[in-house]
Structure formats: structure tokens, C-alpha cells
């Protein structure tokens, strides 16, 4: 078979190749098309009407009381509940947010706070919680409380209450949602597990812009 006959072979099958190429381009384009959004739209679920920033008091990893409203008011705050032995959701959410924070400007990063509230206060001692959060992002505020205090905090954030299962791994079922509270002290959006870095990178500047002091 000569080179010319090979060429003829491909020319005869140009439509097949075109289909394959179109399939590949289409597949990559689908994601982009699916991601097309109006400029102000958020990737998270928008809370409409927004809820007010909750009032809860818990304890930091160095044992000081933490009045959530007073300590975070006027700041973009991302809140999530979880536990240090969580195998997937918690390290994923925190790692994703930490990676995106590193890509924001210093000014932007300083205008937001990330708060992690443990749903496993028995195992997540202050030392354990502090060490674990430090391994992901030293600036995350770790909070603890009694089971009752944590349950009240979950209620205040409109999230389902966590449950500790009686399995050998000590699994704690908890809300896999990150609550975004903007600087105007309103809960604006909820981010489920599966929110990607590109989504956060797109949304954080928008969330920072909301409630910004003129």
C-alpha cells in the first residue's frame, strides 16, 4: 500500500475523522457551555431571601469564647461543620478553599474568614483540631463546643444536625455544605460537596463585592 493509497483511505473516511474530532471538541465544549453563566450568578445555591448572620458562641482551639457574630461581622465568612477524621468531605472542602485563597490577592484573602466547627468534640480535642487545621490552612478558625452547643449552632446555620454513627470508624454524618456569609452580614449562598476550585475562584470575588463598604 503506497502513501497515496493511504491518503485516499483517509480522504474517503474524512467524515469519520470529522465526526471523531467534532465529538472530542464537542465534549470539551459541553463543559464550557454548561458553565456559561450570567456574570453575577453564583455557583452555589443562592439563599433568597438571605438569612441574617447567626448569633452563636463556641470555643476556639486555645480555649477562648468565640462570639461568632461579633468576631466575624462585616467580613465574608465561609462556615463548615465537620470533623478531623472525616475521610472525604471536610478535607476536600477545606483543601479546595485553601488552594483558592492562595490564588486571591493578599487584600482579598484578608477580607475573608473560614470557620470550621467540629461535629465530633469528643475526639477533636483542641490540640487535635488545631493540628489538623494547621496542616491544611493555618488561618482557618477552629471552633468547638458541647454536643448541645454544636447542635444549636447547626440549627442557627439552618443545617441538619450531625449524628455520630456506632461504627468502628466513628463516622459522623454531618452537613456537607459550606455556608457563605457576606460582609453585609447575610447568608447569601450554600456550597455543596463537589464545588470545584474554579467555582470558588469565580464566586469569591463576587461574594467579597457584596456588602462591600463603599
Amino acid at each position: 500500500m503506497t502513501a497515496a493509497s493511504i491518503l485516499r483511505f483517509f480522504l474517503r473516511r474524512d467524515r469519520v475523522l470529522a465526526w471523531v474530532a467534532a465529538l472530542a471538541v464537542g465534549a470539551s465544549g459541553c463543559a464550557a457551555a454548561g458553565g456559561q453563566r450570567v456574570p453575577d450568578a453564583l455557583h452555589g445555591s443562592v439563599v433568597d431571601p438571605p438569612w441574617p448572620r447567626p448569633h452563636v458562641t463556641l470555643v476556639t482551639t486555645d480555649g477562648r469564647p468565640f462570639d461568632f457574630f461579633e468576631a466575624t461581622k462585616g467580613t465574608l465568612t465561609l462556615v463548615l461543620f465537620g470533623y478531623t477524621n472525616c475521610p472525604d468531605v471536610c478535607p476536600m472542602h477545606l483543601g479546595t478553599i485553601a488552594a483558592v485563597k492562595n490564588r486571591l490577592t493578599g487584600v482579598e484573602a484578608n477580607r475573608m474568614k473560614v470557620v470550621f466547627i467540629t461535629t465530633d468534640p469528643e475526639r477533636d480535642t483542641p490540640e487535635v483540631l488545631s493540628q489538623w487545621l494547621g496542616s491544611i490552612d493555618r488561618e482557618v478558625i477552629g471552633l468547638r463546643g458541647t454536643r448541645e452547643q454544636v447542635a444549636r449552632a447547626e440549627d442557627a446555620f439552618h443545617l441538619g444536625r450531625s449524628t455520630k454513627l456506632q461504627d468502628p470508624r466513628g463516622t459522623v454524618e454531618h452537613a456537607a455544605t459550606v455556608v457563605a456569609i457576606t460582609a453585609d452580614d447575610s447568608v447569601r449562598a450554600l456550597y455543596p460537596f463537589g464545588t470545584r476550585q474554579e467555582d470558588w475562584l469565580d464566586d469569591l470575588p463576587k461574594l467579597l463585592a457584596r456588602g462591600k463598604t463603599p
Binding site: 500500500m1 475521610p87 472525604d88 476550585q197
Partner: protein, 270 residues
């Protein structure tokens, strides 16, 4: 029933898992290879058996637990190791084993030995199996994962056949084989560079997979890009070197005699 590795979203553990589909494919591959080797009237050489067995082992390691499990649902870097094992390990070793004794005469064998066919087939499969939306859609499904991994094997066979095909199917002289192999290293530079230099994780699957040993999605992606170039390319360079030395040896041997046939077969001297 779990018969092939695929992404499950479950946390990673070192607990062994059985994948019967993979064992069937590996056994089928071994049987087809053994039958091909058995066609040699003199019986397969020990060298051919050795290369064939190594190809089967490379395929098995590349598909089965733990590489298959980690690569299909946890780490892109391991997914790339699988790609290298299948495309640059199992495929050329199997073809080399076959080339030591076979004399393929069919039109298909000769058609597939054309360098354009080899490069087109390999690069098309390389491109499709690295498009993020394809990988994200296929890898959580056992059939999808099967398709991607078998695609790599087929892509590898297509890439290496123009170099390994023995006479009369062979089309390339040794210098052209070296040029062909060098050309084959250029297109993978594109996905490799994209993986290394991308600002964000490209694959939803690996970005949101449960973390293994705290390796971040971005670091995993960068390692994957490096493996694609720094592990796969040296294998091709080694092949270029082997062809070069064989060519030189034959040139010296044939000095003063009529020029050698351009259809020398085996990549590695037998």
C-alpha cells in the same frame, strides 16, 4: 458487581479488591500472545517468551489493584503511570515478542505498519483519553474505565507496530524508524505541559476524589504531567538508541556487500 476498576468516591484504603474482568482480559491477552508466538515453526525463542511474559505482567500491573484502583478514582499521577505501563510497556513488549518469530503478510498488518496510521491512531487515542470531560464522564463507570484503558493498549499497539512490524509487513528503514519514534514524542508534550502548568485542577474526578496521603489535586496533576514526559519519553529514546545501534551494526556487517534490506524487524536484537 465490581469487575473493573472505576471511580467510586469512597475513601481510599489499602484493602485488596478483586476485579475478575481484569483477570479475564489479562488471560485473554496472554493466550493471544502465546498463540501468536506459537506460529513460529521453530517454536518461540526463550527471548520471545521472556518479552511476552513481561508484557503480560506489565498489563496486569497496569490494570489491577492497586494501580488500577488508585488510577481510576483517586490519583491522576497513578492514572498516568497506568497509561505509560500499557502504551509504552505492555504494547511494545508484546509486539517485540511477536516480531521475533512472525512473518505477517496480511494487508491489515502492512496497512497498520504505515507510520501515518500509527501516529494518527496513537495521537487520536491520546487526545481523546485525556480530554477532561471524557475522563470525568468515563472513569466512574466500569465500562468507561475499561474503554479508556483498552484504548491506551490499542494506542500503544498502533504506535509501536510501525517500528516492530517484521518483514514483509514492515515499511520503515531503521533511520526512518528513529525519525518516527522521535516524532511520536512531540504531541504528548502538549497534554503534559497543560497538566504541569495549569493553574487549577483540570479533572473534576481527581480534584474531588478522596485525598490519598494528603496529596493535593494540583500537585498530583503536576506529577502526572511530568510522568507523561519524563517516564514515557526515555522509553522512546531507549528504543531509538536500540534501533540506532542495530542499524550501525548492520551497516558495519554489510560494508562492501549490497545495501541491507530496509525491512529489518525486531526493535531489540534477538
Amino acid at each position: 458487581m465490581t469487575w473493573w476498576c472505576s471511580a467510586t468516591g469512597l475513601p481510599w484504603t489499602w484493602e485488596w479488591r478483586a476485579y475478575p474482568g481484569i483477570w479475564i482480559v489479562v488471560v485473554l491477552f496472554a493466550v493471544i500472545l502465546a498463540r501468536s508466538l506459537g506460529r513460529d515453526a521453530r517454536g518461540p525463542s526463550r527471548r520471545a517468551v521472556l518479552y511476552g511474559a513481561t508484557a503480560v505482567i506489565a498489563l496486569w500491573i497496569g490494570l489491577d489493584w492497586p494501580l488500577g484502583t488508585l488510577g481510576s478514582g483517586y490519583l491522576l499521577s497513578v492514572h498516568t503511570v497506568q497509561y505509560v505501563l500499557l502504551t509504552f510497556g505492555a504494547a511494545p513488549l508484546a509486539l517485540h515478542a511477536v516480531s521475533l518469530g512472525a512473518k505477517p503478510r496480511g494487508r491489515v498488518a502492512r496497512f497498520l505498519a504505515h507510520p501515518l496510521v500509527g501516529l494518527a491512531g496513537f495521537n487520536l487515542i491520546l487526545a481523546l483519553t485525556h480530554v477532561p470531560s471524557f475522563v470525568d464522564a468515563l472513569m466512574p463507570n466500569q465500562w468507561g474505565s475499561f474503554l479508556v484503558e483498552m484504548g491506551w493498549l490499542v494506542g500503544g499497539l498502533m504506535l509501536w507496530w510501525p517500528v516492530q512490524a517484521p518483514a514483509p509487513a514492515s515499511r520503515l528503514s531503521d533511520p526512518l524508524k528513529m525519525g518516527y519514534l522521535f516524532l511520536s514524542t512531540i504531541p504528548p508534550t502538549i497534554p503534559s505541559a497543560i497538566l504541569v502548568f495549569a493553574d487549577l485542577p483540570l479533572y473534576r474526578l481527581y480534584e474531588l476524589a478522596p485525598r490519598v496521603n494528603g496529596i493535593s489535586a494540583k500537585a498530583d496533576q503536576q506529577v502526572a504531567g511530568l510522568i507523561m514526559k519524563l517516564v514515557a519519553d526515555p522509553i522512546v529514546w531507549l528504543a531509538i538508541g536500540l534501533v540506532f545501534f542495530r542499524w550501525q551494526r548492520e551497516e558495519r556487517r554489510d560494508e562492501g556487500s549490497p545495501p541491507p534490506t530496509p525491512h529489518s524487524s525486531a526493535l531489540i536484537p534477538s
